[in-house]
């Protein structure tokens, strides 16, 4: 019985010591102990408001390169369309036939 009481007391003391150590480790430090130099706050430079992005695509940029097989096919289709337009003009010559817009994907 004495041994049991002795073990119980020792356990209680151990728990108390552990609790104190835990409290010391997790307790917030006082402001006096953590005096740090004041860092001047830097505000970002004022940027003028823009409605459009700075990255406006130039209309003069070259179109993205298509594979040469696709390009050759586009050229061939263009020739066929233009030849059909020319044949229509020869069959029935008018200004409108000559100036009609092409639907060729090569130019549009």
């Amino acid at each position: 019985m004495d041994m049991l009481l002795m073990g119980l007391c020792m356990s209680l003391i151990g728990i108390a010591v552990t609790a104190l150590a835990f409290a010391a480790a997790t307790h917030p430090k006082s402001p006096a102990a953590t005096i740090q130099p004041q860092i001047p706050s830097v505000k970002p430079a004022a940027v003028p408001a823009r409605f459009f992005s700075d990255r406006v695509a130039s209309p003069l940029l070259p179109p993205p390169q298509v594979p040469i097989e696709v390009l050759l096919q586009q050229i061939e289709n263009h020739v066929r369309l233009e030849q059909a337009a020319a044949e229509s003009f020869v069959a029935f010559p008018t200004n409108a036939q000559l100036h009609s817009k092409t639907t060729s994907s090569f130019l549009n």
Binding site: I68, A85, A86, E87, F89, L98, H99
Partner: protein
């Protein structure tokens, strides 16, 4: 089938002209003639198709670009009848194609002995060449117009 070069000829005359020629089969993808080759024969297309192409530089590479396609009944290679007798286009068959090759010399002798037939063939040839010229003129003008329109767009965009 009616050949555009033999329009207006009687069946007997057509037979006589066709007898001057040799039937040839051009296999798919094969060349009938190349630009700059001596043009000794005129061809009448019987079956299949003939692609007439010119070399064009595309991205620094020479590519054969379609100029015209001839189908059965149409004539190919009239350079054989017009000095300096050199082909100004290349001709290939995109599929197995049958043509009748009319040698220039045989045709010339026949037309000299039958001037009435020679006249009709000459007139038909003028129609073939004239049509080609008018079509090319129209295509040239339309292409020039496209260039002018594109140039206007670029000038506006550059402002």
């Amino acid at each position: 089938m009616e050949h555009e070069l033999l329009k207006g000829l009687s069946p007997t005359e057509i037979e006589q002209v066709l007898a001057l020629g040799n039937r040839m089969t051009v296999s798919s993808g094969a060349s009938l003639f190349r630009l700059g080759d001596p043009a000794d024969s005129l061809y009448l297309t019987v079956r299949g198709r003939i692609r007439l192409t010119l070399p064009m530089m595309v991205r620094g590479r020479e590519e054969d670009i379609l100029v015209e396609e001839r189908s059965p009944g149409q004539t190919v290679g009239w350079s054989a009848l017009v000095p300096p007798y050199r082909f100004t286009l290349s001709a290939t068959a995109p599929l197995e194609t049958e043509v009748i090759a009319l040698p220039r010399e045989a045709l010339r002798v026949f037309c000299e002995t039958s001037p009435a037939v020679g006249y009709k063939i000459g007139m038909n040839l003028a129609v073939v060449v004239g049509n080609r010229l008018q079509q090319v003129q129209a295509m040239w003008l339309r292409e020039m117009q496209h260039i002018v329109e594109l140039k206007s767009i670029y000038v506006e965009a550059a402002r």
